[in-house]
């Protein structure tokens, strides 16, 4: 297989970071170059999707360092998509924002590196390299959480880097234990951490060791995925970060951490059967859903609202992974929907924050009259997140619950539906408060930089398409993922 798509996918963000470092951020050309490189990376990811659908499994590097199967291709496409959006809509593009050139430069450099680390994480074949990349995501993103230094953003960034790094160190304990078991049986091998090799040897691994390894891995990557009770950093970091970074963190970073769990779950399932990992996933998923649903009720800031909603949806995806092949299918479809909806919501909330100058839900009123497009998109995104038709999440939530009933977990699904109802009511109430009512006195009306709305409209359109009928290529991709991850 040629190296070209790998180079296009992984080198573009590096070039984007280098370009942002040397070019003056005020230059129009610098912005165009930055967005263009994001687009190239996205095209490469879509090329991978096409290759995978044609039956290829592209690999690259010595000892098969990189390998893209259906699961990797889906995640790479999601990551590259949101990264391209962030490059397009990041700081210094909304006319209302207040970032200095130095801040714009810092954002561009580190958000590109952040995208790079996520892309490496989902395309690496070696679980050790995957770990290194996921640890690096914390470092690259934490640097730009306090882009504007305030007490709140400093606090959020500290919690994020400390809890994130400690969590990921525990995932490394799990990785080492997995490797330990392999070495005990087979001896030292350079390629032993390759996912394909681990999976092939999984049936002979020692059950108690691999179970212990999975507990560490689940706690570790679960911390990054925002699963309760390790989620405490998430609402702070997602709400205090610049909105374009929030979109990347919420839209895809959580999915990347979940991806690591899916990979390891396949190994553990092959070693000890699905009952053990499924129980743990159901426990964490349900707890996350419960904590998120109850926290949504009392939120006063809209970005925190979205952050808790991310915990809710990650919990749902985590549950889906434990509900058999149908559940995995639904979970991955939900991941795509969540990526689209949540990144769109954070970009929209960034525009709202710039205009109203306040993160409080109580200070935002008459949104539909002040910013008709942004307000409309915000409402559409919220309705999508609630799981109402005609948006994609209606189908994926429905499929997930149906998978649960089909799997004989009726009581669990009843609890899930009750929690979803709580989340539904509170999100709707908060949305209502923001959309209507009198606009605050003295606020400027009308959209500014209207072209920035176009990509968000595209997101909403894709959500509607996914809500009417899942397109055939996506169904095929998801079917292949189920073959990889779902048993």
């Amino acid at each position: 297989m040629t190296a070209a798509p790998f180079l296009a996918l992984l080198l573009s963000p590096i070039l984007a970071a280098a370009g942002a470092l040397v070019l003056p951020p005020r230059w129009r050309a610098a912005s165009v170059l930055h967005a263009g490189l994001g687009l190239i990376s996205l095209l490469a990811a879509l090329r991978f999707v096409a290759l995978v659908l044609d039956g290829w499994t592209p690999t690259w590097g010595a000892t098969v360092l990189f390998r893209v199967d259906a699961l990797s291709a889906l995640l790479a496409a999601c990551v590259a998509f949101v990264a391209a959006l962030a490059a397009l809509l990041g700081p210094r593009l909304g006319p209302d924002d207040h970032y200095t050139p130095a801040q714009v430069r810092r954002f561009r450099v580190f958000s590109s590196l952040f995208a790079f680390t996520m892309l490496v994480a989902v395309t690496a074949n070696n679980v050790g390299v995957m770990w290194i990349a996921i640890e690096a995501t914390t470092i690259a993103s934490a640097v730009i959480v306090p882009l504007t230094v305030t007490k709140a953003s400093v606090e959020a960034s500290w919690k994020y880097i400390l809890i994130g790094s400690v969590g990921i160190a525990l995932a490394f304990v799990g990785t080492v234990l997995g490797y330990f078991d392999f070495v005990t049986l087979v001896g030292q091998r350079e390629y032993a951490l390759n996912w394909t090799v681990l999976l092939a040897n999984a049936p002979v691994l020692h059950p108690p060791v691999i179970q212990l390894a999975f507990v560490f891995i689940l706690i570790g990557y679960g911390t990054k995925a925002g699963l309760a009770p390790m989620h405490t950093w998430l609402p702070d970091a997602h709400s205090e970060a610049p909105s374009a970074l929030s979109a990347m963190m919420s839209g895809v970073l959580l999915a990347v951490a979940l991806y690591a769990i899916v990979r390891w779950k396949a190994v553990v399932t092959a070693a000890v059967g699905h009952q053990f990992p499924n129980r743990l996933l159901i426990g964490l998923g349900l707890l996350s859903l419960a904590i998120a649903a109850l926290s949504l009720v009392i939120q006063r800031q809209y970005k925190r609202l979205l952050a808790y909603s991310s915990i809710e949806h990650t919990g749902l995806m985590c549950l889906g992974l434990a509900l058999g092949p149908l559940g995995v299918f639904a979970s991955m479809l939900h991941l795509v929907n969540h990526t689209l909806a949540k990144s769109m919501m954070f970009f929209a909330s960034g525009r709202i924050l710039d205009r109203y100058g306040s993160p409080e839900i109580g200070r935002v009123s008459g949104l539909l009259r002040v910013m008709p497009w942004t307000g409309g998109l915000f409402a559409a995104g919220m309705i999508a997140l609630l799981g109402l038709p005609p948006f994609g999440m209606f189908l994926s939530k429905f499929a997930l619950v149906r998978a649960g009933f089909a799997d004989g977990k009726g009581w669990l699904m009843a609890a899930v539906l009750a929690l979803l109802a709580v989340a539904f009511v509170s999100l709707l109430a908060h949305l209502n408060r923001m959309l209507y009512g009198p606009a605050p006195a003295g606020i400027r009306r009308g959209e500014s930089g209207g072209w920035a709305v176009v990509p968000l409209v595209a997101c909403a359109t894709m959500l509607v398409v996914l809500g009417i009928a899942v397109p055939a290529p996506i169904t095929e991709l998801l079917d292949r993922i189920v073959e990889i991850a779902g048993r």
Binding site: A136, V149, A152, K159, V176, V209, R304
Partner: protein, 219 residues
């Protein structure tokens, strides 16, 4: 070296590494904490070199040298610079007092023996005897991070956690693949540098590095 000797040296080295971690619990001063970390890194590098000698694997020698260079010299220098700035901020009132802390530390090491029992029973390597102590340090480091109030102490807890995993890896597997090892070093170094920047930032914004003040973001 005979396997018996390697086994004893593994336990000896791991004990030193763990003791340095426990020292975090009874010492209060910033400088004492940094000293404990430095000593721990040196003990870890020595243990790694010992395993490298036993297995004749040059990669482990390289890892030991990197450990000594980065964690034994580089990071302690940066830590000492922070100590000059925040040296007066001692752990006067941690969330858990010294006596209780040491008791918890002992219990955590016991727990580590229970947790690692299946590992020790499946492994054939003479170095496996040190694995429970390495796991003990994983738990003790976590306890240091959650029970101490100063940001700098938490950073040290994190660094010790990384040392614990490195020890676990070298004892249990005689070294993870070198490409992964180098990536891990890079991550630790970069992660530490960013944390260090944040500690300065916390000090600038809050005029102290006590994380108890980091309580604005609630609900």
């Amino acid at each position: 070296m005979s396997p018996e000797l390697v086994s004893q040296l593994s336990v000896g080295g791991s004990t030193l590494v763990l003791l340095a971690g426990l020292a975090m619990l009874w010492r209060r001063g910033v400088r004492a904490h940094i000293g404990a970390f430095t000593a721990q890194s040196v003990a870890l590098a020595a243990t790694t070199a010992m395993v490298g000698w036993f297995t004749g694997d040059w990669q482990l020698w390289a890892v030991a040298a990197l450990l000594l260079l980065i964690k034994g010299v580089g990071i302690p220098i940066l830590l000492a610079r922070m100590a000059r700035r925040f040296g007066t901020e001692r752990e006067l009132e941690p969330y858990v007092n010294t006596a209780t802390s040491l008791l918890v530390g002992g219990l955590l090491v016991l727990l580590a023996y229970l947790v690692t029992a299946p590992l020790v029973s499946v492994s054939q390597l003479p170095t496996r005897t040190g694995m429970p102590l390495a796991m003990g340090l994983v738990f003790v480091s976590l306890f240091v991070i959650i029970s101490r109030k100063k940001a700098l102490t938490q950073v040290l807890g994190f660094l010790m956690l990384e040392n614990a995993v490195a020890l676990l890896a070298v004892l249990g597997t005689h070294g993870i693949p070198i490409i992964v090892e180098i990536g891990v070093f890079l991550d630790v170094a970069l992660g530490f540098i960013v944390m260090q920047v944040f500690v300065y930032q916390i000090h600038e914004t809050f005029e102290s590095i006590d994380v108890e003040q980091l309580n604005r973001l609630r609900e």
